[in-house]
Amino acid sequence: MNKIYAVSAAPHVKQKISVSSVMWQVVMALVPALAVAVYFFGIQALMLSLYGVTAAVVTEGLIQKFRGVAVTVKDGSAVLTGLLVSFNINVAAPWWIPVVGAIFAIAIGKQVFGGLGFNVFNPALLARAFLVASWPTLMTSGWIPTNMNSLSGITNFADLSTKAQDLITSATPLGVAKTIRNIDFLGASDTSIVMNKLAEIATLKNLFWGNVGGVIGEVSVAALLIGAAFLAYKHIIEWRIPVSYISTVFVLTYIFGGVDGLFSASLLLPVFHVFAGGLMLGAFFMATDMVTSPVTKKGRIIFGIGCGLITVVIRLVGGYPEGVSYSILLMNIFVPLIDRFSIPKAFGEVKK
């Protein structure tokens, strides 16, 4: 009768959730996007992803061995980082690009800070920034069209000037949008025609399904939404960051997106901006990276709005067609500050 039982602290029941279950579920949520990329760009999309993932896992394992800490590659977090690095790479890139990127992401982006939970920047985005700086041509040009021959998403352009046709067949959707912000490039009339074509239903459909050029993981809005819905259902991502991020982009590109001054764009232009480029991937899978986003509820909204703001500034006035990754990296810096300044009022806080 005098048996002694082990005691432990409450709660004595816990949800079946762990770091690795979270990570693997995010990986699973990215599979549809990868599948669509393979569908439109061929098996190379998968191969590049596998190179990235393998490099990330091996790097993490080696560094952890070397540091003498527990090897945790099974928890899926290195797999996820490797996959996200590859998702930021052009399908036409050589095999070593994702490998170098993944090694950088794990070694510099994560382990230098002390491993999972301590990194300041989203490792995959940091690696992308490093790749863009080191091999700009490999990372930002040489886009290839899908197997349905769509690159910018605009598929009916026979009535346009050769110069406009060249642009449409050689640039990504955001590349086109960026170029024509310089009205002199195509002339006023072609600029407005192309502008309209960017935001017409046929183009948006291509963007939605993924029939456009771009980096591996970003092309299909539909596939990313499926993954995001799964994660939201599992309470792994929460609505505040993606919703505030995407709505900020929507509102700002509606106000400032047209080429003829404020509010000159159709309502479909903000839809184009939301669908095009890396916004969906960024808003649902990168900005929501747990370690590098605020924990407070208000903080998440501030963070999302900040990301949206910077994204739009870069897209509309900055030097690059796309601003998602830089905006998130920039906002990553402010996360500790945002958390400090968005402490919620406790339930029942006395109003003064």
């Binding site: 409450a10 004595h12 762990s18 309470h235 407070t296 406790a346």
Partner: protein
């Protein structure tokens, strides 16, 4: 459906199926009981018997240690056999009085008064004499709750029939089987504080209890039975008050009386009724013995001071080896090292887990996922409190709300890194209190 509730919270598996259909059984008299002197919030009671004294059931054996304290009564008839340290349901060793039974069940003399005629003074006196305290959790002395200062008039008495802790079904059973006494007790509580409204809050997953109580109160315009959304911790005092009245009890030590409310557990209402009508001290209560490995999970009416061992034996023991013994519910209860622990006035359950269920996880680093923030019913930032505690920054911990934590465990329940949030927050509470004392 627009059921009333509070912000935040979690949905643990309720695991009530083991015992929810087991009618209350009165247990055979234990041969021995151990009555802890501290079963409540406030000063411990002071023994007024010595070893060798003969006692009757209901005889006072320890006097309240002050106003915020309660007296203790023997729960069996027999002889005081020891006064000293014994295991306590909170997992500690504490002062208690052991009584060895005489095999009889000889009670002190009880009365049978008409409760309507009692003056408020007499009513409160009887409640206090009977040693009644909150039977849902913390065990706050009931007569104290019923004596608010004049500047805090009470208009509503809420009875807590939520029982949101998984496994526990004791309150559910008394709502089905002793509803008349509960309602009578509620009326007494209302008249004790001059409240015009009475509310019985029950989680919507107990429709039988809700319908039964509604049926019995249909001619009582002042009493409302409110179905509440199934969500943990719906039964936490502040969350219950908010759900039922939309009033937020001020934090930083605010009490329900600040919003004109007194909350009592449904079991307490019965104890109040029995104290008022029969002058019967609180010496027995209904307790749930449950767990997957318990052969015959039951809701038992048992005497205060009965050992867990005896309760478990009455339920036929377990089908496989016990790895963990929990006093109370799995969310807020304490794991105790031995079955030689006595139940008290606040014991709502004893749970037995096997080694799989008692599974222990190691702490990982915080992922900053924010899940704890999303579920905290007090709207705190648990992860950042813990982070600050780890770096000895107790001012930071204070800012993120350490002192407002009600220890509901929701944060730890959802944490993927299995961080022992409540313990870290406890450290913060202790350190902040130490600092304030300086």
């Amino acid at each position: 459906m627009g059921l009333k509730t509070f912000p935040g919270g979690i949905h643990p598996h309720h695991s009530k199926k083991y015992s929810e259909n087991a009618s209350i059984e009165e247990m055979t008299l234990p041969k021995k009981v151990v009555i802890p002197l501290s079963q409540h919030i406030g000063a411990p009671a002071k023994p007024i018997v010595k070893v060798g004294d003969e006692v009757l059931v209901g005889q006072k054996i320890a006097e309240a240690g002050g106003f915020v304290s309660i007296s203790m009564h023997s729960s069996i008839s027999g002889k005081v056999s020891k006064i000293g340290k014994f295991h306590h349901p909170a997992g500690t060793m504490a002062d208690a009085i052991e009584i060895t039974g005489d095999g009889e069940d000889n009670w002190i003399e009880l009365v049978d008064d008409s409760v309507e005629d009692l003056s408020i003074e007499e009513l409160k006196k009887r409640i206090s004499e009977a040693g009644v305290c909150g039977m849902g959790g913390a065990g706050f002395p009931t007569h104290v709750k019923l004596s608010p200062p004049a500047e805090n008039p009470i208009d509503t008495v809420i009875l807590n029939g939520v029982e949101c802790e998984p496994y526990l079904t004791a309150d559910y059973r008394i709502m089905l089987e002793n509803a008349e006494e509960i309602i009578a007790g509620l009326k007494l509580l209302m008249s004790a504080v001059n409240a015009s409204k009475g509310i019985i809050g029950v989680e919507a997953n107990k429709p039988k209890a809700i319908n039964h109580l509604k049926e019995l109160t249909k001619n009582e315009p002042n009493i409302k039975v409110v179905g509440l959304k199934v969500k943990y911790p719906q039964g936490a005092e502040k969350q219950l008050i908010y759900a039922a009245t939309k009033c937020k009890v001020p934090n930083k030590g605010g009490l329900p009386m600040a919003v004109g409310v007194v909350v009592q557990n449904v079991a307490t209402a019965i104890a109040v009724y029995e104290a008022a009508r029969y002058k019967k001290p609180l010496v027995e209560r209904v307790i749930t013995i449950s767990g997957k490995i318990v052969k015959d999970p039951k809701n038992i009416k048992a005497r205060v001071g009965t050992f867990y061992q005896d309760l478990l034996e009455y339920c036929g023991g377990t089908s496989s080896e016990i790895a963990k013994v929990i006093s109370g519910g799995p969310m807020m209860g304490f794991a105790v090292p031995t079955l030689e622990t006595p139940m008290t006035k606040t014991s709502s359950g004893v749970l037995l887990f096997d080694s799989k269920e008692a599974h222990k996880d190691d702490e990982n680093t915080c992922l900053r996922c924010g899940r704890c923030v999303d579920v905290c019913p007090m709207n705190l930032v648990p992860s950042l409190i813990v982070n600050d505690v780890k770096y000895d920054d107790f001012d930071g911990a204070l800012k993120y709300g350490a002192l407002d934590c009600v220890k509901c465990g929701s944060c730890a329940y959802v944490c993927p890194s299995h961080i022992k949030l409540i313990q870290w927050i406890d450290i913060a509470k202790i350190k902040i209190a130490e600092k304030n004392r300086k």
